[in-house]
Structures are given as C-alpha cells and as structure tokens.
Amino acid sequence: MSLFRNAQKVLRENIREYGMYIALFVIMAIFTITTRGTFISSRNISNLLNQTGYIAVLAVGMTLVIVIRHIDLSVGFLAGFLGAVAAIALVFWKLPTWVVIPLVLGLGVLAGCITAFLVAQLKIPSFVASLAGWLIYRGAILLVTAGTGTIIIPDATYNAIGNGYIPDIQVIPGVHNLTLLLGVVAILLFIVNEISDRRKKLAYNFEVLSTDMFILKLLFMSGLIGAITWVLAGYNGLSWTVVVVLVVVAIYHFVTTQTVLGRHIYAIGGNPEAAELSGVSVKKLIYVVFGSMGMLSALSGILFSSRLQSATTTAGTLFELDAIAAAYVGGVSAAGGVGKVIGSIIGALVMTSLTSGMNLMGIDISLQYIVRGAVLAFAVIFDVTTRNRGK
C-alpha cells in the first residue's frame, strides 16, 4: 500500500510535468476501447506518428518562439511554399534530393531571419510581422504553382522521407527486427542515463525520487518505449519520418537543456531586461530562434510534400495553428520562459491522436474541431491553475 501512496504523492507533486503523459495515455486508452482495438493497431499507430511528423517539427520550433515571448504565424504557408520549391527543384530543375534538401532548409533559415529582422531591428510585433509572412507565403505558393497546379513528385528517394521505413535485418520473421533492436538500445540508454543522473544528484545531496518510485518510473518509461517499439515492429517498423522527428527532438532537447544557447533563450523568456543586462543579446537570439523556426518550417514542408508525393496549392493550411496548439497543450507558457521541447511533442501527439481516434470512430469533422478546441482550452486551464497552486 505504501508503494501506491508514494506513487500518489509523487504524482500530486509533479502533476504539471506528468499531466500531459497521463492525458495522452487516457486519450489513447479511450480510443482503444471505443474503436475496439483498431486505434492501438500497429498500422494505425504507425500512420498516426507519420501524420504527427510535420506538425511535430513545427511545434518544436514554435516552443522556442513562444518561450522568448514571440509568435510566428507564417510557418504553415512557409512550409507549404518551401515544399513547392522542393518539388519544382526536383521536377523542373532536375536537382537530386541531396541538393534539394539543404537548399530548401537554407531558404527556410533565410525566411526566418527576414521575420527576425522585422522583429529585432525594426521592432515590429512578431504577430504582425509573421502575419505579413503568412499572406506573402500563401501568395507565393499560388504563384509558383499557378502554371502547373499540383506538382507530382516522382523522385523515390525524396518520397521515402514521408512514406518509407528503415531497412530490416531478417532474423526473427514476422516483426521488424532492427526496430526492435533500436527499441532495446533506447531503453538501455535511458536506464543508464537515468541511473547516472540520479547518482550525480545524490552526490550533491539533491532531492531525488525514493528508490521504489525511481524503479517504478524506470519500469513505466521502459514499458512505454518497449510498447511503442513493439507496436511499430508489428507493422513496417520505424518510418523515416519518425527518425527525422526523433533526431530533431534529440538535438533541440539537448540544446535547450544543456547548452549556453538554451540557457540564454530561457533567460530572455523569463525576463528580457534582466537577460540583456546580464550580457545576453536579445536581438541576436531573436535571429537564432526565428532562423531555427524557418529551418524547421522547411523541414515540415519537406516531410509533408514527400508524404503526399506532391506539392499542392493548399499545402500548409492551418499548420501554424496546429503547432501553436500543440505547444500550449504541451505546457508552454504564453508569459514566456517556460516550456519544454518534449512537452510540445507530446502535445502534438495528443492533438493528432484526437483527430485519428475520432476519424476511426466516424465522428463528424464539425464535432472534431469542437473537441480539439475544448482539449486545448482545458490543457491551458490545467496549466495555469496548477502553476498558481505552486506559488
């Protein structure tokens, strides 16, 4: 019983941090029941993750933008536009994929820096600057696809990014072996990392979870990673989209938590004047954050166009709002300085899970929007009330 009571206590104290994971878990459980298991099937989960990809990378960038107290509305159509540029480069300029990708990512950085210039140098509110971008990139998509309409991308390598899966080593038939192997490696890395972290904290006499809670946490997270791996291995294995997202998340998680750059970003979000007086250049970091946002918009455009194997005239519509919603559901604070990359990814998963689950249940699109809106509102209310309680 004491184990249960301990778990309750830990949950209560860290409800803010674990709230999203629990929400995701509950949502998935509900849909699994209401769809009689279809939701949790390998095929559906695999699709769900691939669908999340292009929003997830945007949500990662948006997290940083909101952390420094700004917003970027242009990312959706920028992604759509750069997807179209990629298609044109592949189809009409006949450039190979390995040239197109860096080119488009570079253009994304450039676009982000233009927004940053308006915001940092000319002191235009980011809402307005990026709204202008929203209109301009929307027009740009229509312009570049005016002659052709939807551009079909025949390039197999490029299309694999959004549709392909990692290759397999055949040992055990029936499942994806390499995916399973990677899953096991991930679990081992996680456990080793957690243990060494705990040991360091103990050496400094920091507060750590009690041993039984620590083991429970390890078991829970390992189980989660194992379950996802197992489900994916039952279908086609790990998709390239998921690999791309995982790499992006790993890099951004590392940068935000372990580097001077990350510290400076959160310092600006927490108190821009204090950060400036402590020698942090707010201007420079606006360029960095918006530049990264532009690059991730380009990546989102690549993921989306390769998934559809084409560039359409409406690509990118509402991506920006999905990304912003994901970030807020994931615990980013509009007041600035608070928000984690991992949280936003979970937020993106919550939002796509809702869409996917409700689609499977055959719920009308009108109700879907209402439910997603309610979840967004509820998530932020939860966040605000638990934060106030902490004071």
């Binding site: 400094y204 927490g270 007086l277």
Partner: protein
Amino acid sequence: MTPPILEMKNITKEFPGVKALDNVSFSVQEGVIHCLVGENGAGKSTLMKVLSGVYPYGEYSGEILIRGVPQRFSGIRDSEKAGIGIIYQELALVPEMTVYENIFLGNEIRRGMVMDWNETIRRASQMLRKVRLDINPATRVKDLGVGKQQLIEIAKALSREVKILILDEPTSALNEDDSQNLLNLLRDLKAQGVTCIMISHKLKEVIAIADAVTVLRDGRTICTLDAHKGEVSENVLIKNMVGREINHIFPPKEHQPSDEVVLEVRNWGAYDPNLGRKILKNINLKLHKGEILGIAGLMGSGRTELALSLFGNSRGYHLEGELYLHGQRRQFSHPHEAIRAGLAYLTEDRKGNGLILIQDVKQNISLANLEEISRNGIVDNNAEVKIANQYKMVLNIKTPSVEQKVMNLSGGNQQKVCLGRWLFARPEVLILDEPTRGIDVGAKYEIYTIMTQLVQQGMSIIMISSELPEILGMSDRIYVVSSGRIAGELSASEATQEKIMQLATD
C-alpha cells in the same frame, strides 16, 4: 483665523512590515501654496495617495476634513467630487488622443448618448487659456513637450473645478523656462482661489513660491513653517529633512583605496531619444582601485541613467564623452562587452530587470558568466551547482537548495542572489544601484560587510544610494548628482547629510 480648507489628522498607514505614515497631521489654509518636502521615502506620496482616495477609507487610520467636514473617500472619484485633483510625476495622459479629448477624458460632455464635441472643444479652449497655453486643442498630446503636457494635466484638473490641486514633483522633468512658467501659473491659480499642495525636491522653488511648508521625515510630520513669518530658508528645511538618526551600524573601515585610477569618465553626456532631452550633462568622475565611491542624489536625478550608460548603454541613449578603463579608452555597445571588460551592474529594480524570478538560484547566479562553466557551448551542470553552492555559502543565502526558484526567496536573499551573479562575473568595477533597497537591517549589514571585503581584495565599487546614512557610512568619496550633472564632490571626512542634501536639491 479662518478654518483650514483641508485638515488631515493623525493619519497612520501601514504596509506589511513598514509604517509608511505614523500619526501624520497636515493642515492647509484656503488659497495658499503649501509645499510638502522630505527625503525619498519620507511618506509624501503616500500621504497624497491617502488624500486622493488611492488608499480608500479603512486602509488607514485618522481623519480627513475638508472645510471642517469629515470625508471618507472610497476611491479617486470621491475625492474628485470633493474638489481634490492630483497630478502625478508620471503624467496620466493618453498620448494618441487630442488635447481636448484628454482634458475631458472620464468627464465627457454629452448630449444624451452622444459626445458634444463642439462644446468639448469650446470648453477645452477656455481651460487652455486659463493655464496660458496657446495651442490648438486638436493637437495630439504626443506632439507636445513635457512642459506643455504638464499644463494640460492642470487644465484637466481645472475642468473638474478643483478646489485643492496636488502636484507631485511637477518640475522634476522640466527645464528652467518651463519650470518658471509653471510656478507663475501656480501663482495665477492662487490668485483665482485655487489651493495648491506641491511636493518638491527643489528647495529653491519651494522657497520662491510657498506660503507654508510642511516637512515629513520617516513617516512623521516634523514641522510646518510659515513663509510669511520668515521661517522658511534652505538651511532650516535641510536640517529638518535630514535629521534622521544614523541607527544603522556599518562595518569598520579598514581598507585604504590606492591612487590607481581604474575607471574614468570625461565630459560624459547622454541624450534619451525616447524622452527627447538630455539626461546627463558634462559628467567627469574617477574611480580608484579599492575604493567605495558613493553616488548620492535624489530619485530621478540621473544616477541610474549614468550607471546604465556606462554599462553597455542597454537603453540606447546617444552618448558623448569618453570612458577610460585603466587609462585605455573604451566603448561598449552592449552590456556583454562591459561585462567582458570587467564591469558589473547590480540593478536598483531586482524584480523588474534583475532576477529571472521563475528560474532557480543557480541559474540566476550563473547567467552573466556561463562561459566559465561551459565547454564548446555545453553547460557543465555539476560545475554550476558547485559555483552556486559556493556563493550560497559566501553570501549566506538562505535557501533550502540552489534549485529553489528565486521568487520563493525573501527580498534580502533575492538581493544576495543578484549580488552572487555579479560576483561570479568576476568584475573589477562593481556598480551597486540601491544595494540595500527594501531589505531588512540584518541583510543590510551583511551586504555592507561583503562590500568592505570586496574592496579589500582590490575591487572598486560605485554605490548609488538615496539613503544618506548609507552613503556616509560606507563611502570613501562621494559625488552628488542633481539634474543629470555632478553637483559636487565630497570626501568622506567633509561630507554631512546637510551638505549632500544641499547639493542634491540644488
């Protein structure tokens, strides 16, 4: 003698932990100009806030009588109805609106549901004539200088038919001409029967205009002087203002500043493009190694602006003059460069632009010098904890751990975290702006002790403070700043509260 138009009897107002007003009595005769003087924090503004209903009846004890009738204001609206108008130091006009809209804002002239703009403009012109302002009432307020804006505030008050007009440091942002103009206007208003209460730091103005002066000190009424009986003079005022007992204890002075000049500023000046005026003029100062240099001056005298202009000019002033560090001419275009060169600036407003309240103690301490605990841009979290714990110990920061969020600490401990950040930046020149504002006596003494230790180790400190005892108790040398220039330099031995106040109110 006629009964006074205003009487405030035994007013006491407490804030958590502080008695801002302690049994203050204040009475004003009809049709006079009555000045209220005192140091920063003497309680002048609080008293006026009680009078104007900002602190409603019930939040203070005591009685307010207007023409002998007791008043209980529950808000500013009530005091306005009773004929009291107050004009704050920070003007409360809407810059994007026209002059006539501003004058009748909140007191609109309507015909039924609609605004009567013609009547509004006619009456606004009338008010402008009363304050002798010859401008088009359709001018936007943002296009007017501060002096004219002040007059519009007065016009606004007059349009509500005030009987008692309160002005809180009306001339602090004005130049000589505008100030004279304003004082003449007050004399006019007096002739028209308006009673004025003016808070001012500029004693020459007070002497020139006041019929009576009340001096407050540490939340108490010290005296009320009658100008017509020849009781008001600069010396008398200063003596009554500064009579504060030196009840703080300071660590003994054991350090001896060397003759080596660390920092020198020549012909320094700054123009603030946002205010549209020069805020610092012709400043020359020297700081020696191992010295505590006190900079005294009243609020708004330009002390903080001076510090910020030296420390990387983060407010974007247009600077002139030269800055020398160890005899070498330097220019800093960002606080980052100033920090690298060995400067540090502890802000006067630790919650506003000092601390990152939502972050923990260690992150606040490491912020200005993350380079030292990082390699290739990756922060060594263990080194950070070690450093933070070191400063926690040295500065005696009372917190359960360095992972505690700074917003959960007391004022004194927050200040020590700020100080920790700047000590970790390992400066040569430490600028402390109001280092002991809002912290308790124990923490104050600790900070003084740390300061003496630092100068003994060869650091040089510039201490900006409005607390005269602190300036006198800690400084080796003192500059007094007034109206954006250095009004005088005093050695520790010759400085007295009176001398400093005389220069500061010049």
